[in-house]
Symmetry: C2
Subunit: 400 residues, 2 copies
Amino acid sequence: MSLIVKKFGGSSVADAGKFLSVAKIVADCYRGGCDVAVVVSAPGDTTDDLLERAAEVNPKASRREMDVLLTTGEQMSIALLAMAIEKEGCPVISLLGWQAGFQTDSNYGAARIKKIDADRLRAELDKRNIVVVAGFQGLNKYDDLTTFGRGGSDTSAVALAAALNADRCQIYTDVDGVYTADPRKVKNAKKLDEITYDEMLELATLGAQVLNNRSVEMAKKYNIEIEVLSSVTGAPGTLVREVANMEKMLVRGVTKDVNCARITLIEVPDVPGIAFKVFSRLAAKKINVDIILQSIGRNNTKDIAFTISKENAETAVNTLKESFEEIKNIKCDDNIAKVSVVGAGMETHPGAAAKMFEALYDQNINIQMISTSEIKISVLIDAGDADKAVQSIHDKFLGD
Amino acid sequence: MSLIVKKFGGSSVADAGKFLSVAKIVADCYRGGCDVAVVVSAPGDTTDDLLERAAEVNPKASRREMDVLLTTGEQMSIALLAMAIEKEGCPVISLLGWQAGFQTDSNYGAARIKKIDADRLRAELDKRNIVVVAGFQGLNKYDDLTTFGRGGSDTSAVALAAALNADRCQIYTDVDGVYTADPRKVKNAKKLDEITYDEMLELATLGAQVLNNRSVEMAKKYNIEIEVLSSVTGAPGTLVREVANMEKMLVRGVTKDVNCARITLIEVPDVPGIAFKVFSRLAAKKINVDIILQSIGRNNTKDIAFTISKENAETAVNTLKESFEEIKNIKCDDNIAKVSVVGAGMETHPGAAAKMFEALYDQNINIQMISTSEIKISVLIDAGDADKAVQSIHDKFLGD
């Protein structure tokens, strides 16, 4: 008997009718002879509503209490989905994160899973119960509730699949798979049948917003096969796995990410250790830095530029101003976008970068920063040029 | 240092402004030097909203999953109240029922507290934290969430006060104390300064709706002094305790309860054990029976009538029809009201019953059933006559 983990996001359970549709998908799979564990997110806009209520009461609420509040969203979902599955006539039990054995560290709001104690999960599955698990949440060593941050339900699903040694982890979304670019924005965007973990990781990190990147990292580590598919059509979607016979396709997709800000430190003293100090200070504030660029030293000074998420921009600037008297001039620009091409064949094709830059030149788009890895090339450009850039690059690499 | 348990109901935390008001009351008490534990209900109409959402998905949802859903209401409240108290600058921590050590039986939807393991509560209070506890909820031996049924937050508060050996348990409501009758309905209704547990118990059971009766029973058992007071004015309310020098007041209050239905079993075989069988069958369905009346046997048959809560009427009728072939004729009337006078001096005044019946006769109200105890007299009448009856009885006993 195969064991399937299914994950449904908030838009798949936005109202009573959608809960019933999801219950049908789950029940059909169960009646087909599978063991089924389901991970579900908070319904529709619940999380945003809760954030708004918290902001009305105290905009500077502690992250511990925020997690107590936010975990109610998934709790509602598991109860309502279990009720919907009961209506389908299947045996079912809902479990909160802690009941399902999710043990985390104490980084409230962005906790990491340390371990899943799957005894209860296995016992319920052995009773042939469908198990509905609250995504996004766990318990720390003080017996306090924690959340994994946005997109954390994907991580819950993959972690659960790993802990249970599941045969497949199906992530249901409002799109029917992974595309070579955002199909709402780019004409001729194509659905991929399969994609490797590394490629998916780049796409996720770069803002494709189909799968949370932590969940892909975890899937890669535990070799969990993920399928991304539509909760509406249920048609075969995109498989994320190590592909045995990889097609020689140069580029898997083109993405944009407008949730980034560039911080520039101008005329920093050109002495050893300054970069270490700057970035360790940001790391202490849990701020992830993406592209880093450092100018060649001149007059005993140099410039350092880097990109981070928009929501971290203010904290980063303040932290650096407070910590380093020697840095006089800090600039922050958040009207930028990162556009990337991703594909595992990229590194063996030196022409890829030139082709991308040509596509940008065709549209007269200025490149502000460049970053490359084995399987991607990213450029930083004006936010206003982003859609035009994605279309042009997509045409160049993936056009008919 | 004294330890105060405060309980706030749903209407006291219906919006952000009210959370902040409650936080101020709590913080003032803490700053005054008290240790404070706060029990809070779900905000405003949250519980009703959740019930509605469940009904849309599955009107016959299991009670286990219903409890998973309903406990989110109090969870939101503790988080938001803790945030509001943080804003007051006081150290605070929220605890769910299970985190606060509430262990219950497994009667989902109407669970009873078996024990409170108060270690964590005490540890937090020892750190001089204000502790905000989710009312209405606990955990059974399977580690599953349970709820105590409507009004259960009062029970949580009193149980907490008992477990912590608190100096007082303050129940904040939208009225400023216990009255001799519903002040919105009865002119000249008077606020009582104090009242005994037994009197309060009768008033609570009879629908005065100020305090949940389980909470009063528990307060009596553990000798916890309860104060009922307004969350708006904060003025001294009514103390519920064993009164040392009881005033010789005949009647403490007049109440009505329209949430009752009368079931009549007509021409039941007049054989031994039939009453036992009927009421044990109802007890098995957890249906509480209030007034019972049995006619004198005639032609080897008798009639049995009893009252129960309205919401149990359908279940009771169906249960009896299925269980007893020999009972042919079952009638159910839910257009009735129970009106009662309560007062500890009642038993020593034989004229009290006559006075009550006279008040009803004055208004030409027909009495359908009568029930008396040491400290109360109840009558069953048409629902439409209830308000008129309460005013008339109040005038007779408590009028100026």
